[in-house]
Symmetry: C2
Subunit: 565 residues, 2 copies
Amino acid sequence: MIPKLIEIDATTGTITSAEVPRELRLVGGRALSSAVVCAEVPPTCHPLSAENVLVIAPGLLAGTALSSANRLSAGAKSPLTGGIKESNSGGVVAYKLARLGVKALKIKGKRNVDEPLLGIHITRQGTSILELDHLRSKGTYESARLLQEQFGSKAGLMLIGPAGELRLATACINITDPEGEPCRNLGRGGLGAVMGSKGIKAIIVDDRGVTVSPTPEARGVIRKFSTALKEHPVTGEKFAKYGTVMTLLNVNGLGGLPTRNFSRGSFEKAEAIGADTLHDTLESRGGMVSHGCMPGCVIRCSNKYVDQQGEPIVGSLDYETVCLLGSNIGIDNLDAVAALNRLCNDIGIDTMETGAALGVLAEAGVWDFGDADRARSLIDEIGAGAPLGRLIASGCVACGRAYGVERIPAVKDQGMAAYDPRAIKGMGLTYALSPMGADHTAGNAIVLSVDHLDPNAQLGPVRDLHLKTAVLDSLGLCLFTGRVSLDQTELVEEICSALLGWKVGFADLLKLAQGWLLQEREFNRQAGFTAAQDRLPPFMYAEKLAPNDSVFDVPEGHLGEFYSF
Amino acid sequence: MIPKLIEIDATTGTITSAEVPRELRLVGGRALSSAVVCAEVPPTCHPLSAENVLVIAPGLLAGTALSSANRLSAGAKSPLTGGIKESNSGGVVAYKLARLGVKALKIKGKRNVDEPLLGIHITRQGTSILELDHLRSKGTYESARLLQEQFGSKAGLMLIGPAGELRLATACINITDPEGEPCRNLGRGGLGAVMGSKGIKAIIVDDRGVTVSPTPEARGVIRKFSTALKEHPVTGEKFAKYGTVMTLLNVNGLGGLPTRNFSRGSFEKAEAIGADTLHDTLESRGGMVSHGCMPGCVIRCSNKYVDQQGEPIVGSLDYETVCLLGSNIGIDNLDAVAALNRLCNDIGIDTMETGAALGVLAEAGVWDFGDADRARSLIDEIGAGAPLGRLIASGCVACGRAYGVERIPAVKDQGMAAYDPRAIKGMGLTYALSPMGADHTAGNAIVLSVDHLDPNAQLGPVRDLHLKTAVLDSLGLCLFTGRVSLDQTELVEEICSALLGWKVGFADLLKLAQGWLLQEREFNRQAGFTAAQDRLPPFMYAEKLAPNDSVFDVPEGHLGEFYSF
């Protein structure tokens, strides 16, 4: 089966399907979404205009039974940062799209707010557009349920909530997990608003009837990779037991846990939202301690959080959310965080940016840190399209401007992830220099074996990590495979050979990644970004972070030479 | 008297007075404020941080009896654009500061929101800091009244309203006119927020006891300039009869009058808010048809608008406000515009950006174009610090983001002035290329004798005009003298010689102006601006403007070579 590029023009409702050009056959995920954005989106266009293109691209290895290899990339010009964006998620959609031979979806054009909402239905028979206006203003949970009733519970869904319909700059795109819960997110950078601007409420991907038979060689390497993941203490055990929250007490111990709008690096109630608490709570209540967000994943880092009666609240409760909607806003219990997480998912808004925005607003005195009921009502205002909700959903920088706050933890208008870069200094390089703004995923420096407080120890390892991450994001491999895939790179080479017929060395992949990053950076340059935007906010250079009393002091020269490959 | 630079550190409350260094003796107004900002403000600092410096500099000729020569410049890094800002106003303060020998005030440091508000009192005896916390949250009208009770009705005032105290990004600084009304504004770019961040509610300038005797030569040239202004039909008569609103029907006729969020270039009710209506209303009600905003001005373009009972509403009702709070938001009567203008003045917020923001919000469906009562209540929300008010006061770009609007008439995050650049194409060059964002004052191309629709006719004349304008802004000469001062440049040379002892040719002044503009531009470059920000919003290149059905099509190359002096 020769894979297809499906192009949808939302303005006209036309669908075009074309064979993938030869030069893109071995490009997938982030490399592909960014290539399309760079080739087709005018860098200075309005992100909600017809010119922007929402690109949805499964990783290169998606559609196979390889563990942890079904990540989905979405790309566009970001309504939040104004630069290029790739957002990355698990869930079932990449797997199904790839099995249907869909290399990428490109959605162009735009729809007016008052036109009926549409859906895109992709099956073995082809792609069609249908009206979904009955889902208008509905949350993602109810929308998913109704879509599953209509299209079958096996259909994979990408959908937006009210936030995306309202075209809010931090709206996300939700992806269903194997249980059909719309809880995996293309979270950052407002891609839900781009989908909303094109009038698309949902994409339904139904791969029934497709059979793919792996070769014996493929079966062998799939088994080998699973075994390697299972044998590693972290990917084989710790992730499954503690999930991503396992990092919380570690980061807290390093003094880098964002607390009360990044005013401290440790939270006095960290234990209460830490991994042991999460694990024990899940176990005692009968939640799912361990769960795979993607078909075939053996790491199984996700979970299904339940309330005291064992009723589902949200799956999965993950580290970034537990910090940004927890310690960063002074909330010290997981039930409260889970409720906020569920609410954000339902509205279709990025939990991380919401936490960053609420942190800034608490500092401004709009509400009190720790008041979970008030946090909930503030997030409700997003879904209602109320002015304060819209401001929150415009991101922490907009909140800071509206309330005259100076301590705004953001780069390129995007709120930072759950690591304060004054204590985890490599993360500062990632936030500052990634074309994506203050994402952690572009180079999650917390995994590096370096002294995180040493300003001189970061440049080389973090730069390496950016390249390696870009490789994983393009292959569709989950970053959490890194402890195996980045340690035993010959395994990645075997995988490419057996599953893709691609004889490529890992060093060659890294070389390709240099080009991908530089192409993203060139988009940003044309959009108007310079070195001035490749820096942390001024307060992080001056305001000491307790308990280390550290500032961000990675030498300016290190930032300057980051992209000198 | 050797002029002084007075530096105030708001953090510590210290006041330092120093002689003006020799190289700054012949630098004033915009050239001086920008020189200080470029020298002392880190381009990437947070605009509300201690590092930002609010510079207040009378024009070089201020303090004399020369007509129309007492303009005041204020400069800082703008909270709205993130770039350098010079804002320029009439009123009495420049005159009084100059007579007191104050070449410039530099205000550094910052105060927390909960610290008492301060005032700066400048008299012949010296400069002191005093507490003004009893004025907290008070509008500028009541504040001015109370300050005049305390310090005498002759004191000149610069003050902020609630918007500045709230550090809102479009807060202005109000200046009193000769009658003591706080209605002259350093309007654009949020300098009121910078003043607010330094905890300064008001600056009281009392020049009693100062006598300055002009030389016979000076007297001669002052007379000569007045005569020349009086003899010109525009500066001698039209401005006094119709005020700045005289331009409205002209711009409407050219199809460039921003109407309903820049969706049309002509307003069907333009007559109702035009110059004849204004003039007749003022005359029949007993308002002041003509009034000088600065001591000694013979042009007298301003007015005092009154209600049907003859009670004062606002002085002065001017073109930019009548358009942006009139046609741009669908309001077709001057009483309503005047009430909104008064309200904005009282809150201390830029009327122009407020009009641009309300236009975007009407397009988003938040309110209906033309509903003056609702417009009023929306502006009230600014003063109250309510979320929607804060969003409005964050500017039209923030409103567009929060409501997912694509048609946002702004450059560098600042709303456009009252000329649609698709019909007045030279103004497009000004908006795009001025370091100040979409101000008209940097090069008010409407005065040029060119075909405003011809994309190829603009580059040379507009570039010239930017330089000439920078000269006037630095001398402190009102732009409205241009029909005389820029036509009879030898008069300017005579003035410099007689009043400043400065033998300078006008061509030399233009040469200096090149340096001033390039220095401002360099600040922006270091703050992260590139050519991508030196462009109009995308919709203006694509969406045809009725009635001319024109787009902005000045060749890209013309924008690129604008600064090739």
